[in-house]
Amino acid sequence: MSSGRVVITGAGWVTPLGHELDAVWQRLVAGECAIGPVEHFDASTFATTFASQVKGFKLSDHLGDRAECHECASLATKYALAAAVSAWHNAGFGPTMAAAGGSRSSEHVDPKRFGIYLGSGEGRMDLDNFVRTNYAGWDDDARRIDYKKWAKAAPKNLVAARELEQEPSMCIAHVSAELGCRGPVSNCMTACAASTQAVGEAYELIRRGDADVMLAGGSHSMIHPLGMTGFIRLTAMSTRNEDPSTASRPFDSTRNGFVMGEGAGMVMLESLEHAQKRGAPIIAEVAGFGSSADAYRITDIHPQGLGAAAAMARALKQAGIDPNAMDDSGRPLVHWINAHGTGTKENDKTETAGVKAVFGESAYKVPFSSVKSMLGHLIQAAGAVELITCLQAIKTGVIPPTTNLNSPDPQCDLDHVPNEPRDCNPMGGVDVCLSNSFGFGGQNNTICVRKFAG
C-alpha cells in the first residue's frame, strides 16, 4: 500500500544566471543580477529595451549529438530539454532512454509509470514570415486583408515546422522523446502560474497512484517582438531603461513593473516508495499543493488577495501546517515564502495582503522574498525555477534576498530579506517553504515543500 507521499529526487534549470544547479544558486545568494539590454532582437525603440536573458546556451552542451534531433524545436523547448535532462541525471536515473539507443525501458523506471506534466508556453512566432504573408495580403485601400491574396502568400512564406513548433504541446513531444516517458501527460497554460500548477498536479497524479515518477516543470520565452509588445501595451513591464540591473524592484516603493525573463525549470517527482526502492537521493518532500481562481476581473487581482490566500491556505492544510503555530523557539513553522513578487504595483500589494490573511500576526515573522529581483520573471517557467530555489534553500539553510529593495512600500511590510541573504543555519536551517505563483486571468497556485525527514 502506497503511503501517498511524494518526494523530489532531481532538479534542473536553464536560467538567465546560468544552467547549473549550484552555480546559479551561488549567484542568487550573492545577489547577482542577470538583467541587461535585449540581445535577441533590436528592441532599442521599444518602451522597454531590456530583459533577463539566457546566455551562452547550446543544446549540444546538454544533449551531445542528440541535439540534432531537436533542431527545429523552439528556443524555449531547447531550454526545456536541457533542464529535463539535467533533472533526470540529478535524480540518478542514468543515461536517458534516447541516449541509450531509443531503448524503451530503463532499469530504474517503467516508462508507462513515468509521466510528464509541463506548464510550457507557446513557441516564438516566426515574425518575419508572418509579416511577409500579411503584408502580401493587405489591401491598403480597404484597410483590411484580402484573403484571396493572403491565401496564396501563406504557403509560399510560412514554414510548416516553425508553425507546428509554436503549438504549446510540442515541448512535451520533444522532452518525452528524449526521456521516454509514456505515462500520464498534460501541458497547462495558466500564464505566470503555469509551472507551479504543473508540478502541483503532477504531485496529485502520483498521489492518486496514476504514476510512480513524473517529470514536471515549465519553459517559456517571450523575449521576442510580439511577446514584449503584449506586455508593453498592458504597461506591466518596468521601463527603467537607464538602469536595467536595478529595474526589478519587488516590494520597493519605486517599483514600476516586472522584468521579462526566459528559461526552464524541471523537477523529478517520485512516490516515496519508488525513490526508496531504487535508493534515490531525496532532495525534499512535496507536502502540499493549493490552487484557486480569483474569478474577479480579467485585468485585476482581487484587492484583498483572496484567491492567493485560498491557494496558500489549501497548500498548508494539505501539509498539516498551522500558519499561526510557532515552534519552541518562537519561529513560525513556514521558514520561507518564495513570493510571486513580480515588482508590479498591484501584485506585490495584494500578495502581501494574501499572506496576512493566511498567517495573521505571524506573517511578519515569515521571511518573504522574491528572486525575480535578480532573475526577472520567467513567465510560465517562473514557478518551477522558483520551486528549485526552495529546494536549494532547504539544502543549504540559506534564504536568497530581494535585491533592489531600499525603500519598502509601506503596504508591503513583511520580512523581505532585503539585499542580503539570510543564513538560517544558526536557527536550525530551512525546513518548510511555500512557493507562490499567480497568473494573469486569476489562477493562484502554491506549493509547500518540506525537508525530507524519513
Binding site: Y135, A151, V185, L234, A295, F440, Q443
Partner: protein
C-alpha cells in the same frame, strides 16, 4: 473509497447546433454542418469549407448569452473564448445550477469556492486583420517591416488588452468570472486531447476534495486564416472543389486514401459533479465518469522534427500512446475491453492520423474491434482540435442517456477493421462508452463513461 462523479449538464457548441438537444437532433438525423466558410473569404484556401458554429443564420455570439453587465467584456474575447462562454452558460443551465451568472446576490446552488473550472484550449491565433492593421504602420521606405518603427509607434496601434485576448487561459478566466468559480482552475493545451485531459483533472480535483463540481471540457476555433493555413501545412485538410454541394462526403474517417478533414469550431463543456451532490439536489445525470487515462505517444527514433510529414501525429504505424491511454482508463474503471459497447474516437478524416488511431484501437480491442460501433463526428462538425475530445465526450454522455447511437455519415467506405460506415441512428444498449483521442503532438487521452442505474 473515492467519490463517484457524474455528468449533470452538457453545453455543446458546434456546426450542427448550439446546445446538446440541437446537436443530438442533427446527429441522429444525419445532418452535417459543414458548409462554405462565411466569416472570411476562404475561396483561395486549400479548403474553403468548414464547420462554423452558427445559430439560426448568424455566427454564435457570446453577447447573446452573457449577463447584460458583462457584454462589454465580449470585446476582448477571441472567438475561442466566446464559444467557451456560450458552452459554459448552456452547461450550467442544463445542470440546473444557479451560479453568479444570475447576479451577485443570487443564492448559488454550490458555494463558489467549491466549483472548479478546467477548460482545454488551443493555440489561439491572433486576428490577422487586427494585427496587420497595426503591423502595416511600421513599413519602411522599401515597404519592409521595421522593428524600430514598430517599437517607436506601431505598438501603440494595438488595443491595450491585445495580449489578454489571446492567452489560452482566457477561456477559463471569463467562465470563472461569469459563474463565480473560485476553486481550482486550469487550462490544458494538448490539442485534441485537451478536453479529456481537462475532464480527468476535474475528476482528480473532486476526488481529492478540492471541489464539489467543475466546469470541464475544451473549445477551439480553427476557422481563421492562420488556423487553416497552419493545419493545411501538416496535411490535415482536404482539397474540396468550391462548387461541392455535399462537402461532408470528402471527410471519410478510416478510408485508406481519405483526402483529409475540414476545419471546425466549437467543442463542449460539461458539469462534472460529485454523485452525492447531484443526488441530494435531485439533479438528472447523463452518465457516470468511470475511469480516466492518458499517455504520451513516442515519436520515431529520428526525432519529432519530422512530425510535419505525418499530420503532427505519431511517426510510426499504430498509436501506442492511444492504446496506453485506453488501457489506463479501462484499468481505472475496473473493467476490460470486452465491456465497451461503443467508442467515440477522433476519426479526423486525415489518413495518417486515422491509420495510427485504428492501429492503437486494434492493440486494445484486437479482432473484436469491428464489432464495436465507432461514433464518427468529423463529417458533421469538422476537426475541432482542442474542442474535439470534449465534443466527443458530450455526444458520448448523451448517447448513454438516450441509449441510442447517432447516425453516421460516410462518403466512401472505411477500412474493414473499423465499424464506421454510413448508418442510421439506432437504439441500442449502451452500458459503457469509451471516448478517446490521440493528438497533433502525441498526447493521448481516454475516458470511460457508464450508464447510471
Amino acid at each position: 473509497m473515492r467519490p463517484r462523479c457524474v455528468i449533470t449538464g452538457i453545453g455543446a457548441v458546434s456546426a450542427v447546433g448550439v446546445g446538446i438537444d440541437e446537436v443530438w437532433e442533427s446527429l441522429c438525423a444525419g445532418k452535417s454542418g459543414i458548409a462554405s466558410v462565411t466569416s472570411f473569404d476562404t475561396s483561395e484556401f486549400q479548403c474553403s469549407f468548414g464547420g462554423e458554429a452558427i445559430s439560426g443564420d448568424k455566427l454564435v455570439s457570446a453577447k447573446d448569452y452573457v449577463p447584460k453587465s458583462y457584454r462589454k467584456a465580449t470585446k476582448v474575447m477571441a472567438r475561442d473564448t466566446e464559444l467557451a462562454v456560450v458552452a459554459a452558460s448552456l452547461a450550467a443551465k442544463d445542470a440546473g445550477l444557479v451560479t453568479r451568472e444570475a447576479g451577485d446576490d443570487a443564492e448559488t446552488t454550490i458555494p463558489s469556492g467549491r466549483v472548479g473550472c478546467h477548460i482545454g484550449a488551443g493555440f489561439i491565433a491572433a486576428e490577422t486583420d487586427e494585427l496587420t492593421s497595426a503591423l502595416v504602420t511600421a513599413k519602411d521606405d522599401q515597404g519592409e517591416f521595421s522593428l524600430n518603427m514598430w517599437g517607436e509607434s506601431g505598438i501603440g496601434n494595438l488595443q491595450p488588452l491585445w495580449l489578454l485576448k489571446y492567452l489560452p487561459n482566457m477561456l477559463a478566466c471569463h467562465v470563472t468570472i461569469i459563474h463565480g468559480c473560485e476553486g481550482p482552475s486550469n487550462t490544458i493545451t494538448c490539442t485534441e486531447a485537451s478536453g479529456l485531459l481537462s475532464l480527468g483533472e476535474s475528476l482528480r480535483v473532486i476526488e481529492r476534495g478540492d471541489a464539489t463540481a467543475c466546469f470541464s471540457g475544451g473549445i477551439e476555433s480553427k476557422i481563421n486564416p492562420m488556423g487553416i493555413a497552419r493545419m493545411s501545412m501538416v496535411g490535415r485538410f482536404a482539397e474540396i472543389p468550391a462548387d461541392e454541394q455535399e462537402p461532408w462526403r470528402h471527410v471519410r474517417p478510416y478510408e485508406a486514401d481519405s483526402p483529409g478533414g475540414v476545419p471546425g469550431e466549437g467543442g463542449g463543456i460539461v458539469i462534472l459533479e460529485e454523485k452525492d451532490s447531484a443526488t441530494s439536489r435531485g439533479a438528472r445525470a447523463y452518465a457516470e465518469l468511470l475511469g480516466i487515462g492518458s499517455a504520451q505517444s513516442q515519436a520515431g527514433a529520428i526525432g519529432v522534427c519530422h512530425q510535419v510529414d505525418n499530420c503532427g501525429g505519431p511517426a510510426e504505424g499504430a498509436d501506442e500512446g492511444l492504446a496506453d491511454a485506453i488501457n489506463a482508463a479501462l484499468r481505472d474503471a475496473g473493467i476490460d475491453a470486452s465491456q465497451i459497447d461503443a467508442i467515440v474516437p477522433a476519426a479526423s478524416g486525415a489518413a495518417p492520423m486515422d491509420c495510427a488511431e485504428l492501429g492503437g484501437l486494434e492493440l486494445v480491442f484486437g479482432e473484436a474491434l469491428n464489432t464495436i460501433p465507432l461514433v464518427t463526428l468529423t463529417p458533421f462538425v469538422g476537426q475541432l482540435f482542442s474542442g474535439a475530445g470534449a465534443f466527443a465526450l458530450a455526444v458520448g454522455a448523451k448517447a448513454i442517456a438516450e441509449q441510442t447511437l447517432p447516425a453516421r455519415l460516410h462518403g466512401g467506405s472505411p477500412d474493414a477493421r473499423a465499424n464506421a460506415g454510413a448508418s442510421e441512428s439506432v437504439q441500442t444498449k449502451l452500458d459503457r462508452v469509451l471516448v478517446c483521442t490521440g493528438s497533433l503532438s502525441g498526447q493521448a487521452a481516454a475516458v470511460v463513461l457508464g450508464r447510471l442505474d
